[in-house]
């Protein structure tokens, strides 16, 4: 059909076109990426993605709420009673089975740190301030649709499917935690 010479030039030309097109496509993609990436959290937001919380001011039985990544974090200094109560619950009674030990850090079982957002539809449960409704199990109560959480933040009654979510955190010292 075509002579060798023609085939040769055709191939070379095709290669040139394909290479140029590919490079152009790569360049376009590289130029478009910053326009998309600028929508990601900016440097000042990322700088707040980890926080340190000093636990010293929290007395036994008290709770505090801190903001982390725009969400409330519940930190409760649990009493001996709270812990005993949580440990006594048989796993088969739980909707989302988890032992008390799985909910806290080993050696710091008086400290319960959780994201204070109901796993049902995202309301913030009550029970942080002393005197506010802690539900039927002494933990937290979500007023939106009546979910009850126990002293380990596990779902016990109501529509919520899961226990309160635990954020990533670790103890830097006995009284200082780093969340995130």
């Amino acid at each position: 059909m075509a002579s060798d010479a023609t085939t040769d030039t055709t191939t070379r030309r095709d290669f040139l076109y394909v290479a140029t097109g590919a490079l152009g496509a790569v360049g376009t993609a590289a130029a478009v990426w910053p326009l998309i990436d600028q929508m990601n959290p900016d440097a000042s937001t990322l700088a707040l993605s980890t926080i340190e919380v000093d636990l010293r001011p929290i007395m036994v039985g008290e709770s505090i709420t801190v903001m982390w990544r725009g969400q409330p974090i519940f930190i409760r200094h649990r009493t001996e009673d709270d812990i005993a109560q949580a440990k006594a619950v048989p796993l088969e009674e739980l909707k989302d089975p988890a032992t008390d030990a799985e909910r806290v850090t080993e050696g710091y079982e008086q400290w319960l740190v959780q994201i204070g957002i109901c796993t049902h539809l995202g309301c913030v449960p009550t029970g942080q301030k002393s005197g506010s409704n802690r539900g039927d199990y002494g933990g937290w109560f979500c007023p939106c649709h009546g979910s009850h959480y126990d002293t380990a933040g596990r779902i016990r009654k109501g529509p919520a499917p899961l226990n309160l979510v635990l954020p990533d955190y670790r103890f830097l010292s006995d009284t200082l935690i780093k969340i995130g």
Binding site: G24, P34, L35, D37, Q38, M39, N40, D42, A43, S44, T45
Partner: protein
Amino acid sequence: MSGNSSYNPTNPVAKWLDSRLPIMRFSKEHLLDFPTPKNLNYWWTFGAILAFILVVQIATGVVLAMNYVPDSSLAFDSVENIRRNVNYGRIIQATHAVGASMFFAAVYVHIGRGLYYGSYKEPREVLWILGVVIFVLMMATAFMGYVLPWGQMSFWAATVITNIFSAIPLIGDPLLQLLRGGFAVDNPTLNRFFSLHYLLPFVIAAVVVLHIWALHVPGNNNPVGVEVKSSRDTVPFHPYITMKDLLAIVVFLIPFAWFVFFAPDILGHPDNYKPADPLITPPHIVPEWYFLPFYAILRAIDFDMWFISAKLGGVIFFGGSILVLFFVPWLDGSKTRSGTFRPLFKPFYWLFIFNFFLLTYLGAQLAVEPYSTLSKIATAYYFAYFLIILPIVSRIETPKPLPASISESVLGKSGS
């Protein structure tokens, strides 16, 4: 253009669509097959370059608006936040700011090409007028965009330029308040400028569509200015012109990138890194470089003429310097389009180009001698070129003989 409908879909879906919305047919005719003179030189690529920059400006502008806060107490800091904290913010912001300069650099070349090759002449008058409309919209957009960072130059540019409207007799002062939304440039001004700065680029895009429509009725002008006579004179738009335009865009990106990455602030003014302060006017207010020629014309009228005050006179000449462009198709009566074949026209044209650079330079100088006198001379030549020289030259000039067709002119070139 018609007679080049080579779109014959065989695919049933394509046929179905074609009988309902012939968008594929339209695209093929106007974006792929469109017959384009084969002798277009690189000055003709600036149309594509401009379309490209418009896309760049809209894309970067939309994402900047995701991070910018149009509030007089927050605007300056929000722009600084974009530069410092937003991912790639410094590059996006620099691209948008440098892009405005690149836009005007390209549009001046585009207009200059039109003036040299007589691209405004019959039957392309509407094409030219739409181009001038785009230019006016660009100036408005760029001016309002410059106000948004709310630096000292932003603020005082807004003050000085809106004050231009106060020169209009009778309605001047109420109009000024209407434009500013207050008794001075302030938060309401910033808010409306942001709104309009976001809107106008889309208006520009719409007028660009009309501009291209008006181009595709008579087809392109070309360097010899002889109309297309046969298909031998043309090449299909794709791939010939598309590849040439893409090459030009890539080359154009080199100085563009140079400024963005190595000198992003050199085209701006240091004073705009000072937050706006209504109590202190910078000692030397200058607009961005692309407004300097017109700013020089505005300032050149520093004397009263009959009953017209210097202030109103400056505004009239400033407006007139752009308005006169609308009438160029009728001011230049020469039947010969291309300046290449117009021996008398040519020196006056190049003097006009030089004069335009001179006006740019003068616009940046203080209003003292010798700049004031030079500004008056340069302003006089600017208007004389359009109102006196073009009409007279076209009457007395004997143009050189034109080639019979584009193909013939090309043959002659390759022979030499």
